[in-house]
Amino acid sequence: MSTRNDICSNCGAEIRFRWSGAVQTTCEYCKSILVRNDINLALVGKAADLPIDISPIQIGTEGIFNDKPFQVIGRIVYRYDLGTWNEWHLYFSDGSNGWLSDAQSEYAVSFANSFTDAPPAEADLHRGLTMAQHSVPLYLTVITDAMYETTEGELPFTSYDKEMCRFADFRTNDGRFGTVDYSETPPLLFLGQFVAFDSLKLKNLKEFEGWPNA
């Protein structure tokens, strides 16, 4: 990948894009959200302070999923009624991108996918609903209404105009999972699988005072 450099239109700090597909990033220094229009960066708003956060993952964390190395280049923090969770934006060595979901240290890797069957209508969502996508039977286990708490780093889409989003989380009998994101029309599908923390072989994690590094 070719890294390109830009200048934050708010504070003038250097903005470095790690991923050429990034549409949005956040200035590390002044927390300005910058959206890329063609080749210029437009200042569209300011990211909120990160919530109290002790995820061991951070921008720059590296790991391996299905034998493919990845780097964490961005994240979205969602807030829902029981707290927050992180969706870490992953940039893979083969140029693809995906997400590492970190909800209270339950980790899952997923990728945007297309619907092979029509998604259930938002109004019809209820726990126990089943659907099949790409021949995977999926059981709806939780419906979450969440909002963007804040964002960090590079993202494949713009976040600044998003408000409440509804997510339907599906699980399977074999450790895979799916999420339908109803914040867009038509909804977005993400398919992936739960992963054990150790299996990702993460490097460049945060350190925790008083805790030996895992």
Partner: protein
Amino acid sequence: MNPAAPRKGFVSKPKALNCPNCGSAIELRALGAAAGVICSYCSSTIDATNPQLQIIGTWKAAMTIEPAIPLGSRGKLKGVLWEAIGFQQRGIEVEGTNYFWREYVLWNPYQGFRYLSEYDNHWNFVTPLQVLPAPSMSGLVYANESYRSFQTARAYTWFVIGEFPWMVQVGEAVDTADYVKPPKMLSSETTENEVAWSQGEYIPGTEIWQAFQLKTPCPPPIGVYSNQPSPYVGRVRSSWLFYGAMCALLLCLMVLFATLAPNKMVLDKNYVVNPATTVEKSFVSDLFTLDGRNDNVEVRITADISNQWVYFSMALINEETGQAYDFGREVSFYSGSDSDGSWTEGGKTDDVLLPNIPGGKYYLRIEPETDPARAGGLKPRIPFRVRIVRGRPFYFRYFLGMFLLLIPPIWTSIRAGSFESKRWSESDPSGASSSNASSEDDE
């Protein structure tokens, strides 16, 4: 570098905070990871995800319990260091009685959350599951193992302290379902919006006491717990395998000694009893030789009788030493017919085995006696045959051995069965019918 200065990629120890309700000091151990923290003084549930520490609510706990594992203590379980950060007492009501158990939240900043549950000093190490167990005929299948439905209940939180990954409150209710495959169990907790699965693994309390270096004595478990591994598991099988091996060994010995036994006929002679005479009529046999050292001698008498008895007073006498082995045998045989058909009683042959007869030259003294009153004209003479065999192979003691050896495996099987029935006596019979996991159908 000044450790107090914030640096990127480094998370300092959480600072002490004050309860926004009562002002008591609260130590946040998993700040940010935990969603709810409960003030140990005023029982307020505080939203720990928000820097402003908003109070979610204050509930009067119905009880106060001191956790056996003090919050903040650390222990290494399954190779990972965990810190106990939260504690709750939950209860279910069954037929008017409350049954309480306790749950500890364990936290590691990299690995996330695990739980310890304790009921009557039976402990489980609980891992949240992301995989949905699949329903089966008798319960669930997870990771190619079948779990049997054990119990369903509605659990209430009675007391809570410390930090939790969700906003737990006193009075919180969830529907629980347990499925067991000792030493493991699967549990689901269902609320309106979510069903959460976890897997528990039975762990001896002593292991927890050692891991967390608890100073108090570790109380012994009471009764049998749902997923407690049976101490008899494997022992039933091995005791029966041992029994089978012993039987095979005994059979081998039996065949070996039967083959080696002399089993030699030393006397086979026909005599006659004359019942008509009232005179005592004892006589002796020819001399015969008993080989070897101590061995058994079988004396078999066959008398051609019908509806009468003959009693033989006998003595096996060593010609050289004069040592006599006295014994008496009766041969009686009756037959007839009545409304039920024909019948017989007794037999025409009698065997007796004399053990431990030393080798030497012997003769048999025989004194037959019969019923003289019945003799009149019926059958004046009774022919009988005496056979003496040295060194009979014997079988009975082997079969007795096999029978006695049955006691340990049967005992073990009974104990194992009673352990299982104690386990299942705590299960609820309706549990099996309400086992629907991921396949909960749309209304």
